[in-house]
Amino acid sequence: MSTLLFDVPGPKARRRHKILSVVTVVGVAAFLGLVVWRFASTGQFDYELWEVFVTPAYIEFILEGLYYTLLAAVMAIAGALVFGLLFGIGKLSDHAWVRWPCWVVVEFFRAVPLYILITYLWALYRFQIELLAPLVIGLILYNGSVLAETFRAGINAVPKGQVEAAYALGMRKSAVMRIVQLPQAIKIMTPAIISQCIVALKDTSLGYIIVAPGLTYAGRQIWREFDNHLQVALVLGAIYIILNLCLEQLGRFAQRRLTESRTVQGDAGADDAALAVR
């Protein structure tokens, strides 16, 4: 953190900061209090609206939705990694007839919104409900394309000296890729890959629009019966936040394990991919 934006606070500044801190905390508390008050005054805290979340049958129902969400996410991530690897390497190929089609595919699926991709795939499946396939395929295509760019950036971020040394030793391109570039690229790109996994997990919520089993589907069933949209949305939001925070922790753990050796250093451009937007 760039601490030169402000000096080490002297006594007057410390007092001012304390006052501002108090004002901020009071402001936030007041805002939350207002929200809670509005909740209460419009009857959002009624037990009957929240009862469903402590009923075992419905908890099981939500857990089933969670299972399908995680299943879709895992399948999507696995597929996206394969897709991304293939097309990322394809974009770096020396043969133009490989490069250009890869470029077209990747750019197309990156520019098209996931929502319309899934809707179209669903139409191809004749609008069957309770089907995970359109969701998973759409997720694979989209996240795979983003990962293709990530892999390309990672492979290019491996220090040039390594690649030159490998060629000097007489390795051919595929060997250089396999032995020298890919292992280091994956280490460099781990944060971006984890970030994309979080994106994939969040985007499984789009199963809602194709009536695919999952958390949002379970949520819709519940609020159809109990008319408690807001409560369901809040609980689902909390579940997603917890899932994503766990995934982030997992990612950080995996990154620490993978990059134990400090000898892998990427070039400057690698960090841009870490700002992956979801």
Binding site: T24, T42, P113, L114, Y120, K202, V232, G237
Partner: protein, 218 residues
């Protein structure tokens, strides 16, 4: 591929395109303004503001946009706060994107050369003046590519409002897919092309801005 559906539907498609653009600009505006405030809060000397900023980003980056849309669409009217359909959904998209604007801007703030902040401090500028006069203008110049990325994501995320029934491009696609089962691929490619136009336009503006505001490195 059968593009004949265009004859009857091109007006609806253009209307949907316009709705998409309106949602994009409304949420983009909210996201830009709010995101800047949260970014400044995250680098502020007041610890409480840093906590609030971090909490905001953690909350809104880890929640799916669809759920945020449900919360504002169903929840706000249930609590008695209603800005109207359009602004409810734009608010949700704006709040969501603001978290990403904040992160992109923060990397820019940290990327402004340290000497600038040092000089501002040496001249005696307090924090807010340093931010508004020295750091933020330079930070915005630095973060054009990540910002373009954020806004492209926003343009694509506006398609989610179709799930609530707002008649944007994605909503029109759903209609077309049902009404013209023989032209499914054509309909998809048409709508995809319209989104690609929006994305390409954003990229063009970003390239122009990047060239204009290029930081001359010595």
């Amino acid at each position: 591929m059968d593009f004949s559906f265009l004859q009857d539907s091109w007006e609806l498609l253009l209307k949907g395109f316009w709705v998409t653009l309106r949602v994009f600009f409304a949420s983009g505006l909210i996201a830009l303004v709010l995101g800047t405030f949260v970014a400044v809060a995250r680098v502020s000397p007041v610890p409480a503001m840093r906590v609030v900023g971090t909490a905001y980003v953690t909350l809104f980056r880890n929640t799916p946009l669809l759920l945020l849309l449900f919360i504002t669409y169903y929840g706000l009217p249930a609590m008695g706060i209603d800005f109207g359909f359009f602004w409810n959904v734009s608010l949700a998209a704006g709040l969501y994107t603001a978290a990403f604007v904040c992160e992109a801007l923060r990397s820019g703030i940290n990327g402004v050369p340290l000497g600038q902040a040092e000089a501002a401090r040496a001249v005696g500028m307090p924090f807010t003046m340093t931010m508004t006069q020295v750091i933020l203008p330079q930070a915005f110049r630095l973060v054009v590519p990540p910002m373009a990325s954020v806004f492209i994501a926003l343009a694509k995320n506006t398609s989610l409002v179709a799930a609530l029934g707002l008649a944007d491009l994605a909503f029109r696609l759903q209609g077309l897919l049902r009404d013209y089962p023989s032209s499914r691929t054509a309909a998809f490619l048409t709508i995809a092309a319209m989104y690609i136009i929006i994305v390409a336009a954003i990229s063009l503006v970003a390239s122009w801005a990047e060239r204009r505001w290029k930081v001359e490195s010595r």
